[in-house]
Amino acid sequence: MRRAGFLVALGAALALAGCGGGSGKKGSAGLSASAPKPITSGHVNITVWEGYTDSEANTMKRLAAEFNKTHPHITVTPQFYGNSDYALQKVLAAIAGGNPPDVSYLYGSNAANIASTSKLVPLTNWLNQDKAFGWDHFYPFERRVATVNGKVVGIPALVDNLALVYNKTLFKQAGLSYPTKNWTWADMKRAALKLTNPAKKQFGWAYVNDASEDTVWRFWAMLWQAGGHILTPDGKKAAFDSAAGIQALDYLQSLSKAHAIYLDNGSDNYLPLFGAGHIGMLWTGPWDLEQIRQSKVDYGVTDLPADKNHQTISGPDNWVMFNNGSKRVAAAWEFLQWFTSPKVDLQWCLGTGDLPIRDDVQSLPGFKTYLKRYPGVEEWVHNLTNSKQTRPVSVVYPKISTAVGQAVQGVLLGKYQPKQALAQAAQTTNGLLSAPQG
């Protein structure tokens, strides 16, 4: 009796397992070769997933409302999905569940991972055909990151880079001269040590140390400044465990040992701390500019200090489109066209302090207002030219990032030594790169 019941359950389970899944195969069906035309009848609802907070969230809501008003046949609903670090996971889970959003914000480093899903809407042909879109006006490294094996997987949503932001008041108090474009690592170290004052809970520098991509990409900037590379030119093996990488990690270790770095655990506590005058220097991007401005700190912005060069890292992120039927695809395309047009992008920049994603924004009359409203932002715009290298566009990049993140975090927490930590991460990376991709 008991055995019979078990067999029935097992049989049912086998049957269900056999027919479970596989719902995403018909994804690309229904996509036309030429770009969809604007919608002129009926009504379409689309969802846009994003991880915006504060001023970015407010601006997003405002612009979405404006779009809905001027495009009566479409209703765009922005949806907050939480931290963008988990966006890829959420999107893939939604695809697995059979109901992905129409548009989603995704890190550039996730481009390769999302490129393989059949639910993705590839944009290559549409962008090449539609001259009015102005794909050529998007910066070259942006377009490189959004393209996987010749397929354009998304439209840049954010372009940025890391620059040095410093608290002028604290520098004056410590008797230091302000950082300049000629600063070196040694200069920064000296300043950081001088600005550190445990009694006042004051730190010279802040570093995001939660072992996520945020931890890793700063390290990449330092690696490049020291003359190193992430991978070998053929992309098959790790190259970050070179002398340049060890040098960069040594630098971090020495500053951390001297308690000169505020180690942020991923909650971005460094921002209010900087605003309250507890941190001397930040390596950050324009996304923090609005908060810094509101904190009334007297701040300055300059290039990152150099070892052998002033390279910075840029993290272009993308709007990625998913196929929920031709009508929704058409609506999503119409929205993205509008949203990334120069005029609307300038609105975005004005509301958030983010950098313009295309170079023809700079010729608009309102651009001067933008530069004035966010003192220092022109530095980031200029710094875009220092963005020479990009992170590898690879399906296993997230796992490489995890390995390197652990290494950097471990060194900063005083648990690992730079050489061993990087060697370990390199070993993991080589294993990942050599495994068959499938």
Binding site: G21, A96, D210, N265, G266, Q406, Q409
Partner: protein, 317 residues
């Protein structure tokens, strides 16, 4: 009843044909069998679909490489093999066991002491009881967020108190060596009330006469406690030990909301690792293998505890 003895039945009655029985169908419909099955049907269907089938399917999944998006193929015991070599999984097991071994005794013994203290008839006891029970009602997510702030190295209350009494500041949840113990503190705070309630109920079930008799015999308070109260509480103790252990081995929510398994994976526990593998990296097969290993582990530990308990627990009825 008449006083006359009853006449025996006329023998002719034995030759009458028995009354016609209802048809088979009618018997079936009116029968207790059908009624029974109809009554249990909804529950059985629901439990079959959402419990029994998943139990079997999980085992099957653990024998597959499955990415939750539709593609899967069978790999035999490869997942279990990989698990045995996976050093992250091994440290997850280590962290989980360490957490459990600290959490369970602190909760159970602490709760016993508190229950004894709360079993008094002193003024304000109602307030004290409420104070102890209230954290139980807050959700695990709320507890996590609360303690994230309390233990924040820069802004938190605890470091402020330490600073005020001259003790050094701690990194708490941001230190790989301290984080897991902070999680213990947080979960003890959140769950102690449960154990206290169970012990209080058990304490109040101890007959007064037993205690009074022992008192009259001259037994000290402490020996009364040891020889009468503790044994009588042993069923509750066994239950709490088993229950707390099972829950401790399944720790997840608080980790997700506070440390996400870090720093440096020092708070990665088994269920968190399962979640990462299955729902962040989409290794559903590997995640299922982890789940089954956890299942077997919990089963064995529970059985051992019950066996040990059977010989030491004193039942009164």
């Amino acid at each position: 009843m008449s006083a006359v003895a009853e006449q025996p039945r006329p023998p002719a009655a034995r030759h009458q044909p028995p009354p016609a029985r209802p048809s088979l169908l009618k018997r079936l419909i009116g029968s207790e069998h059908l009624a029974g099955w109809m009554f249990v049907a909804p529950a059985v269907i629901l439990i079959a679909i959402f419990f029994l089938i998943p139990i079997g399917w999980s085992l099957i999944l653990s024998l597959q490489a499955n990415n939750l998006l539709g593609s899967h193929h069978y790999v035999g015991f490869a997942n279990y093999n990989a698990l045995s070599k996976d050093h992250v999984f091994r440290s997850a097991v280590g962290h989980t066991v360490l957490y459990t071994v600290i959490f369970v005794p602190i909760s159970v013994i602490g709760a016993l002491g508190l229950a004894v203290a709360l079993n008094r008839r002193i003024r304000g006891i109602r307030f004290y009881r409420l104070a102890v029970f209230t954290p139980l009602v807050t959700s695990t997510v709320a507890t996590g967020i609360l303690f994230l702030w309390l233990l924040d190295p820069t802004f938190g209350l605890v470091n402020y108190v330490l600073h005020a009494v001259g003790l050094p500041q701690q990194q708490f949840l941001q230190s790989p060596s301290e984080a897991l113990y902070c999680i213990v503190a947080m979960t003890v705070w959140g769950w102690l009330g449960f154990d206290v309630i169970v012990y209080l109920a058990a304490l109040q079930g101890i007959p007064e006469e037993l205690m009074e008799a022992a008192e009259m015999d001259g037994a000290s308070r402490f020996s009364r406690f040891r020889t009468i109260v503790l044994p009588l509480l042993s069923p509750a103790t066994l239950f709490l030990v088993v229950w707390s252990t099972i829950n401790a081995l399944q720790l997840f929510d608080e980790i997700y909301v506070t440390t996400r398994g870090g720093p440096l994976e020092s708070t990665t526990v088994i269920v968190y690792y399962l979640y990462q593998q299955a729902f962040q990296y989409f290794n559903a097969g590997y995640g299922s293998a982890i789940a089954y290993v956890l299942f077997i582990g919990i089963l064995i530990i529970t059985l051992v505890q019950m066996w040990v308990g059977r010989r030491r627990v004193y039942y009164t009825s």
